[in-house]
Symmetry: C2
Subunit: 708 residues, 2 copies
């Protein structure tokens, strides 16, 4: 989407949401102790320039302002109704909005959540009342919205009672209502303001993405922060992020509820492995969103995002980001290095030529991983020269300048040269070892990221360096029709065949009747040689080895007959009622390691592909990489590179290298199930990875398809 | 050690360090731009009540104060000399101190670091000049020390130019000099002061532990913070921590340089697995120190430490700590839960009877993992009742009270009841969702921990709940004699025998000559039955399988002869020069999983025992638990419980449970090498863990002993 196209889409009639002129406050209270009294007070005290109409049955005035008994009684039709009545009365008020032609209703009321029939019916009634789009709804359970540039404080969040909240250029969209107040107060403490903030509530109608799209034509906005609690409305969000990227506006997100990952291991690991948070990670990354994991990082990330360009979505170099640390204090620099390394970011030592250039410029520094200016002096000249040389070297994606005690009382020594050099743009962030509020204000005013928490600093650096350009490709998001058709689990042979049809390599297993294996084992033709593995083939037995349904290392026809007899005898004794009729025969796969490759259609974001360390490691260490499917070969190589288990496949302790190319190709192939709506999930576990050039072999496989 | 005994030890003549009356500033500068001008200015401006003598050759006054050409020229003998001259002149000044009877010299100068012969000689010369204890040395590379109660600002750290630094009751000992300024400024911003701070520098003479011991008789100190960069002087530190514990003073530590773990894998994994940081963790835990991993957590931990008692060193219940979260805001509570779970702390749902009690007390809350007061109201009564009921329930080790927007503008609603209830002592901490500086000050003044960073909050909770009473047992710390005797690696059979002598169970391998295995395999007596594993036995071949030196699944005598022939033929072709003479024969061990059990004598803290996931997981996932050795059975059970791999051994996916008792007993046995000075290191990898009741089997083992 081009910037202009994004803006066109954005101006879709949500002016009444974002810039209302006539606001009705339905259920406004006189009692200052009640949250429902706040919007009127905030709008009035904040100097809102539009009209405000309290609508409260049985009162002629509220808070000194004339009140009206109903929306219909108002002298004009408001463009935005802010509804604070009890849940049972909301639908009635919304229906009145629809009748009158009110464009937008924000619903503060809760009581619409839940999965039961009653809650579902309440939500349906609300959408009915709104005429399915005639009145656009924000919420329910929205705490409202705020535009600090326009003095629009249409919210019940207590923070906005405060005068002098700074306005800025960053727009916040939040699934948590209380957080809009927390973010504003925390930002104010750092001298960082926001353009506006929207509490989207339950997103029954308007979603974060759709509201975001509507803000794209607001030229006063330079970036977005998202506070997320779930993965809903992924399609809208993706469209909005693409639009923001087209306008050069970065988007950063924090997500709460990361730990609520379902730890249960289901039939398919893939679903549990790629939990909600993994899927969110993959989805947000594909949208070009910088994913922040610390609350303060969300507030502090924006100036850093403006200084580091997003990486290409298909980066073929697979180069790790390079970070330089220059410091005038040893202890603090060590803390930053620790925090970066914990997040997988290695501090890189400048080349000898950089050190030579520094020496020639009169800044003698002994070559070391950290550029330590203690000897050269914590003064303007050495600091500015060093920072300039590091930035000009082209060796680094980012430079961290660590300032010591002087930052507190003498910002002219170290902070001033950082500001002067960073004025040119450049990927620079600052870490202040002491509490240095004046320096922070100076740096913030100059647009230079300045951190006092080493954890927040490293978190922001990791997010900023990890950000990609949104992947531009036609994605299919889950629609309502996705729910049609019953899920059917294929048996192992059908699953292997499905994979082979897609192009997954390795030998296809042979199906044999138990009776044939017992009576004429030599007559079973095998397109591979002994030794083989013999397994029960039965749709209802998923953990075959647990019931004696697997015999490994079968050396020839006689051995095959013995294996068949053992399986025929053992399985029914352990799992009564199972009829042992068919066997699956596979070559014995010996490789350098085992991995899991899986695919499923996530109900929120759609097709997802997973590669993970196999065997017990799949479950214990959750060593995995998740992406939206399909992926390119470059992306698959990157996914394999993200596994710690990769070390085992890459020439571990003198062993040969594994066939990482065949592995990555398999990931690509499996990810291409995204083009097939009939396949809901598929998992190969283990996939044996052979030595370089020998390919991979799917040992166990299971697929779930949509029944007719 | 009793409190009185600790104090006796403490008063060992370090008054001149901690409370000097006559200070000489050797090398004091007139130039306010130089760090060496600061101590004089700080002492004077800070109102130090003792005498201060600048000693600077060639000047009659410095900063308006009369100066002297040398220490000998002073009208009196100072008790403390603060030395700021060039490194080459330091020893001369210290020798002068020794001649005159100056008790303590603090050496700001650096230039004594390094491992080369010159640096070693410089350090030796400095100790010589000090008369090996006649003058006690702080440093070199010490930035000095500060006592904020006594206006003693004997430091070159720029922060101390600032007036009104608050005094408190917490004492700081830091291996980083710049950090003493960072901590003071950060504490001031939170309304938290310190009693004093010492930059210990290189600890050539006085160590953190010895200085800490000297502060034990200071009744104005209630707790200690340590900023560490290495594991030196462990013995002193342990003694100090025991003394502090005896006086009921908590100690917390932050350690920089965590990521500098040597990642190289040596012959013995144990050493690399238990890197410096792991060893520090185990050592500090044994000292009863709360280990903090965030910088701000170090400053904010102390009030929380005072509210939660240390756990018993030998906790036989192996109970995980239970934390309750009560909240008036959903989003922020979810963030805290995430951060706690990331650190392995699970938020526990209150029992039904707690919820019933709340309902009876007029606080209706729907039972859920988080006690959500949104419906009950963010007001004094519901908050105080809920907190009181949760604390009185006995179900929780700690309660986190999360306060929302009201904390900023209306602390009377939620913050006041927290303060009132927490006045009684109880394990309560507060997380503030908005920036709420006034609430923080109120909470800090009441001694209630108040966090604004969710990461810091969770870090402190984890540290506080993990703290143990110091382990009281006679530990042997490494002495100089430890370096005597050459390290000799035993061959595998000798290693197995050493382990068997200690009491490690499982079948002992049989040694056989290759010639016998070839000529008369049936004549080799085995105390176990076939199938067996046959391995080359050779001291110089450590990775036997890499050179064809291992044959598994040998089924009988004929097979044994074939295996011997294969090894005799293959190994010399792959590793020329190896004489294949002896074989090791072991039963084929089939178990539920494999682990590593290791032991080594760390050069700083002494004997250390490690248990880790085995096989490739040892190196890839570093899934391990480290303790100082020896350990009790309870500690060993706890170590095994810390492995994520434990899931595989504890009835994984319907498989039988592993013999965790035999595993823990093996850890205990191996840890008992601590009593044998002749054993430097030992490692079993893998140790096969059989099903419950069937024990364990050491497969590979290697030990390093001290040669005669």
């Amino acid at each position: 989407m081009t910037g202009a196209a994004a803006r066109d889409r954005g101006s879709a009639g949500l002016t009444a949401l974002l810039d209302p002129r006539r606001i009705a406050l339905v259920g406004a209270s006189e009692d200052p102790g009640r949250a429902t009294s706040r919007p009127l007070r905030f709008l009035r005290d904040g100097g809102f320039s539009g009209d405000v109409y309290p609508v409260t049955a049985g009162r002629t005035s509220v808070g000194g302002v004339r009140a009206w008994p109903s929306l219909s009684a108002l002298p004009t039709v408001p463009d935005h109704a802010f509804i604070m009545v009890g849940a049972d009365r909301v639908a009635g008020v919304v229906a009145e909005c629809a009748d009158l032609g009110v464009r937008v209703a924000t619903v503060l009321s809760d009581g619409f959540a839940g999965t039961g029939a009653a809650a579902t019916a309440r939500r349906a009634a609300l959408l009915d009342a709104a005429g399915h789009g005639r009145v656009r709804l924000l919420g329910p359970s929205s705490l409202g919205l705020v535009d600090l540039r326009r003095n629009l404080l249409l919210t019940a969040n207590a923070i906005f009672a405060e005068p002098d909240l700074p306005a800025g250029e960053v727009f916040v969209l939040s699934q948590s209502g209380s957080m809009i107040g927390s973010l504003v107060s925390r930002g104010k403490a750092l001298g960082l303001g926001f353009a506006g903030l929207v509490s989207v509530g339950a997103e029954l109608d308007l979603s974060i993405g759709e509201i975001g799209l509507a803000t794209l034509d607001d030229l006063g906005i330079t970036g977005y922060l998202l506070f997320l609690e779930n993965n809903s409305h992924a399609r809208d969000l993706a469209e909005f992020c693409a639009g923001a990227a087209a306008l050069g506006r970065p988007v950063a997100a924090f997500r709460a509820g990361r730990s609520s990952l379902a730890a249960d291991i289901a039939l398919l690991h893939t679903g549990a492995l790629a939990g909600d948070d993994d899927v969110a990670d993959a989805f947000l990354a594909s949208c070009g969103v910088a994913r922040i994991t610390s609350l303060d990082g969300l507030i502090e990330v924006m100036p850093a995002l403006g200084r580091v360009p997003a990486r290409s979505a298909t980066d073929k170099t697979h180069k790790r980001p390079a970070v330089a640390v220059m410091s005038t204090t040893g202890g603090a620099a060590a803390i930053i290095v620790d925090q970066l390394e914990l997040r997988g970011i290695t501090v890189k030592q400048p080349s000898d030529s950089v050190y030579a250039e520094l020496a020639a410029a009169g800044v003698p520094v002994a070559p070391a991983p950290i550029v330590d200016l203690t000897l050269a002096g914590a003064r303007y000249e050495p600091v500015s020269t060093t920072l300039r040389v590091l930035l000009a070297s082209g060796e680094f994606d980012l430079v961290v300048a660590v300032a010591g005690s002087s930052a507190r009382s003498q910002p002219e020594l170290v902070v001033a040269p950082i500001i002067d050099v960073a004025a040119g743009g450049g990927p620079v962030v600052t870490f202040l070892a002491p509490d240095a509020p004046d320096a922070r204000v100076l740096l913030a005013a100059a647009g230079v990221p300045a951190f006092q928490s080493p954890e927040t600093c490293a978190d922001v650096i990791a997010a900023v360096l990890g950000r990609r350009v949104p992947a531009v490709r036609g994605r299919r998001f889950p629609g309502k029709d996705e729910e049609n058709g019953e899920a059917v689990t294929l048996d192992e042979e059908e699953s292997h065949r499905l994979l082979r049809d897609m192009g997954v390599g390795g030998a296809l297993p042979v199906v044999a009747k138990v009776s044939d294996a017992l009576s004429d084992p030599a007559g079973i033709e095998l397109p591979f040689s002994y030794p083989v593995a013999v397994k029960l083939l039965h749709r209802e037995v998923t953990h075959k080895s647990d019931v004696g349904g697997v015999v490994l290392g079968v050396r020839g026809p006689a051995d095959l007959a013995r294996a068949a007899a053992s399986i025929a005898e053992t399985v029914p004794s352990r799992q009564p009622g199972v009829l042992v009729e068919r066997l699956l025969i596979q070559p014995m796969a010996a490789g350098l390691g085992e991995v899991l490759v899986g695919y499923h259609r996530d109900s929120s974001v759609g097709p997802v592909v997973v590669v993970a360390a196999g065997g017990v490691m799949t479950e214990i260490y959750r060593d995995r990489s998740v992406r939206l499917a399909p992926v390119t070969l470059e992306e698959a190589i990157e996914m394999v590179g993200e596994l710690r288990y990769r070390a085992v496949l890459a020439g571990f302790r003198g062993r040969p290298r594994g066939d990482l190319t065949a592995l990555a190709e398999t990931v690509v192939t499996v990810s291409q199930f995204a083009a097939r709506e009939d396949v809901l999930a598929c998992e190969i576990n283990p996939l044996i990875v052979g030595a370089e050039g020998t390919g991979v072999q799917a040992v166990d496989a299971v697929a779930v398809v949509r029944g007719k």
